[in-house]
């Protein structure tokens, strides 16, 4: 059981990295998705290239790139910062595609109606676009969040003190790799359950609101 306590010390980092990357990605993905849906081929194509480029490179490469390559410059990043930024970049690309699907699901007339009513952009975004896109966006976003939780384990490779890092150290020290990593696996699975439940709950609630 002391093993579990030892590993639990890493939960904070794991969740913070996941949440941080998710936050970074969800915010940066908004302009990227908008660019992707632009009518100007130059804009939408460059957004497409950016998204495909980011997705075509494995997350671990992004982490190593951000941590070591930026570390060469004067910008010395902590493992936490590098993990959040690296995973945040990956998230931005994937979430932008999710947002695009969500925006595509809104009937075009909604945008026109909002403009016809003279709604300022803020009102249009929060009162018209977001509620309708949310039902389409939340389930894939939740699936992605769970995937991100698992990818956060990569942060251990650059030294972030998350669950995997602690498990690794323990296994190296006491050669009890089997038990340690099985507890770590269980911990990750347990952490993913609330996310899945939250997603199902918010998804159904938002869907009910919109179809009313």
């Amino acid at each position: 059981m002391e093993l579990l306590v030892l590993l639990s010390k890493g939960i904070g980092q794991t969740l913070s990295i996941t949440f941080g990357a998710l936050l970074l990605g969800s915010v940066l993905a908004v302009p990227l998705a908008a660019m992707r849906r632009s009518e100007l081929p130059a804009v939408s194509t460059s957004a497409k290239i950016l998204i495909e480029g980011i997705r075509g490179v494995p997350p671990i490469v992004w982490l190593l790139l951000i941590y070591f390559a930026l570390g060469e410059t004067d910008l010395k990043l902590t493992t936490f910062q590098a993990s959040v930024i690296g995973l945040g970049i990956v998230s931005t690309a994937y979430i932008a595609e999710i947002y695009r699907a969500g925006l595509d699901a809104i009937p075009g007339g909604q945008f026109e109606a909002a403009d016809a009513l003279g709604m300022p952009f803020g009102a249009k975004f929060f009162k018209v676009i977001t509620p309708q896109a949310a039902a389409v966006v939340i389930p894939p976003l939740a699936t992605f969040a769970i995937g991100l939780l698992k990818d956060s384990a990569l942060a251990s490779v650059i030294g972030a003190q998350d669950i995997t890092f602690r498990a690794f150290q323990e296994a190296q020290a006491n050669l009890n790799g089997l038990t340690v990593f099985m507890w770590a696996a269980l911990l990750y699975i347990l952490l993913s359950i609330p996310i899945a439940a939250l997603a199902r709950y918010t998804g159904s609630r938002l869907a009910r609101k919109v179809t009313a």
Binding site: V57, P58, V61, L178
Partner: protein
């Protein structure tokens, strides 16, 4: 910088080869596992069905890195010691089994129920219906997601860096730690992954168009 890149590319190619090797080996080992788990989830008696579904959920819920560490560092506790390369192949094969089982189950379920009913009206036996009607359609449905998974698997081989498999990322890191050209080395390695990934997607679109059911021509009504 150009000459740095020119020296790096041939150094990295063996690593890329290993990454591709691991991908193919994991597919060869993992796809049969996936089929078995899918068959178990669909057709087995209830206790076995739950075991199969449980294994699939476990395989999908565990981070790839943990699975890798489990096989490489954990199995020795049970007396099974292996090198990093086989460990990477086995753990990625297990992941492949879990993820593809899901794909197979979904693909099988996606064959319209009407097909089974039609087989019934033609008095085809269970096995004949499966073999002649259902499975060919299921295979058509399943190929695109499997290709998508193969591409993701190729990207996942980068995890093997963590247990020092001499694949692309390790090669890049070792090279960069000598010359300190981290940014260039990792960017080049990343571009190699990107190149193979894009190649994979390009082939994927080719296969999709040929076998896609949505592109199948609608049957023309005949006025006999």
């Amino acid at each position: 910088m150009i000459d740095s890149i020119m020296t790096m590319v041939p150094e990295f190619l063996p690593g890329l080869g290993i990454s591709l090797l691991v991908t193919i080996a994991s597919l060869i080992l993992g796809l049969p596992l996936g089929i078995l788990l899918a068959l178990g989830s669909l057709f087995a008696s209830t206790p076995l069905k739950f075991v199969c579904i449980g294994l699939v959920e476990l395989g999908r819920g565990v981070p790839g890195l943990i699975m890798l560490y489990l096989v490489y560092f954990g199995l020795p506790q049970l007396g099974i010691v292996m090198d990093a390369l086989p460990a990477a192949m086995i753990s990625l094969a297990l992941m492949t089994g879990a993820y593809t089982a899901e794909i197979f189950v979904a693909g099988f379920r996606a064959v319209p129920q009407g097909q089974w009913e039609a087989c019934g009206t033609l008095a085809l036996s269970y096995w004949k219906s499966l073999r002649l009607v259902i499975l060919p359609q299921a295979i058509k449905i399943v190929v695109p997601p499997l290709i998508g998974w193969s591409i993701m698997l190729f990207q996942a081989t980068s995890l093997a860096y963590a247990i020092s498999v001499p694949e692309l990322m390790s090669g890049a890191y070792n090279y960069a730690s000598v010359t300190f050209e981290y940014a260039l080395a990792f960017t080049l390695a990343g571009s190699m992954y990107l190149a193979v990934t894009l190649l994979g997607f390009w082939l994927f679109r080719g296969v999709s168009n040929r076998r896609s059911m949505s592109k199948a021509k609608a049957p023309r009504p005949t006025f006999a």
